[in-house]
Symmetry: C2
């Protein structure tokens, strides 16, 4: 069971130490708990030649590309997810994700993985039509990527167990809205079972 | 009290008959009730030389620019907000908004007012730094515009009484998430009082 027959890609968004560490101002409650399910989804996709894109946030050390609305908090918070910040606030991925020479890596300057990045160009070149979104945080980077993806005619699936929000209520409300514009909301195990059927 | 001293613009999003008529598949509960407050905000801004942008959705009659995820529903629903559809499903603005030769009109092909439009170019040319968002629907076109605006370094204010969702719960959840990324959430009357102080 290998081969990416339905032109699918997995986007792993903002799963970085700076979001997963509870001492970070960007910490998302619930995000660390999704690491094992994310790691399993990554492993599953690599084994089936489904391209895996790690989309990460890396702010400039001088703050020149931090959203203005969060610049002051970012400075007070030790400049997380930037070169030279403390290791526990860094841009690094969790060790559980491993690495593979076929992985794609994209740094994004804003919420959406498509905003001012070459992601759409790379996906077109690969013939990708369907995107699987995992990572954090559901209301910001997952959701903006979902809306841009649908605007760009991709089919979108969001894994409910591989995404996270500060509260269960926020998570539920955002998954509901995304389903309303046509995104599929599935657990990773449901999708993997469907994929291998 | 005239003059646009703080480089503000008002964006009126998707307030069209095709969203305001309860026989439309795109009808948003609560949107018709916001028409008077929207009309008052528009009047207030025109009187103070604050530029007013009407951002509207106009689908092609053949459906070629309808999001794929809603194409089938759009066809079944009588092809709302497209040329040649029934008048009650049309792209027209509510009569209460009136018109002014200084109004700007932009047609957008997707959710966000910035996606594949010249809006950002026009706002830069005018020196606009702060955007007021009103219209419908809060989780889709208001919110995607809000996130893109913040990504583009605009200050954003959303009027709670001039935006609408299918339920109060959806409205509340979305205003909460937008405030979390730095948008101001105010009623139109609060903002107008602040502006004229």
């Amino acid at each position: 069971m290998t081969g990416n027959t339905t032109e699918t890609a997995l986007l792993v968004i903002d799963m970085q130490k700076g979001y997963l560490n509870k001492d970070s101002i960007f910490f998302i409650d619930g995000a660390p708990e999704t690491v094992p399910a994310c790691a399993e989804a990554i492993r599953f996709c690599r084994a089936r030649e489904i391209p895996v894109f790690f989309i990460t946030r890396c702010y400039a050390s001088d703050g020149s590309n931090v959203e203005r609305s969060r610049l002051a908090a970012w400075e007070r918070g030790g400049r997380p997810v930037s070169p030279g910040c403390a290791p526990e606030l860094s841009i690094e991925l969790p060790e559980a994700f491993g690495s593979d020479p076929r992985d794609h890596h994209i740094v994004k300057p804003r919420f959406s993985a498509f905003f001012a990045t070459e992601l759409d160009l790379l996906l077109r070149r690969l013939g990708v039509r369907e995107l699987i979104l995992i990572g954090t945080t559901t209301p910001n980077c997952i959701r903006t990527t979902c809306y841009d993806a649908i605007a760009l005619d991709y089919d979108v699936t969001v894994f409910s167990d591989c995404t996270s929000s500060k509260t269960e209520e926020i998570q539920r409300a955002n998954l509901y809205d995304m389903s309303g514009i046509g995104a599929r909301i599935l657990s990773s195990t449901e999708w993997m079972a469907e994929r291998d059927r």
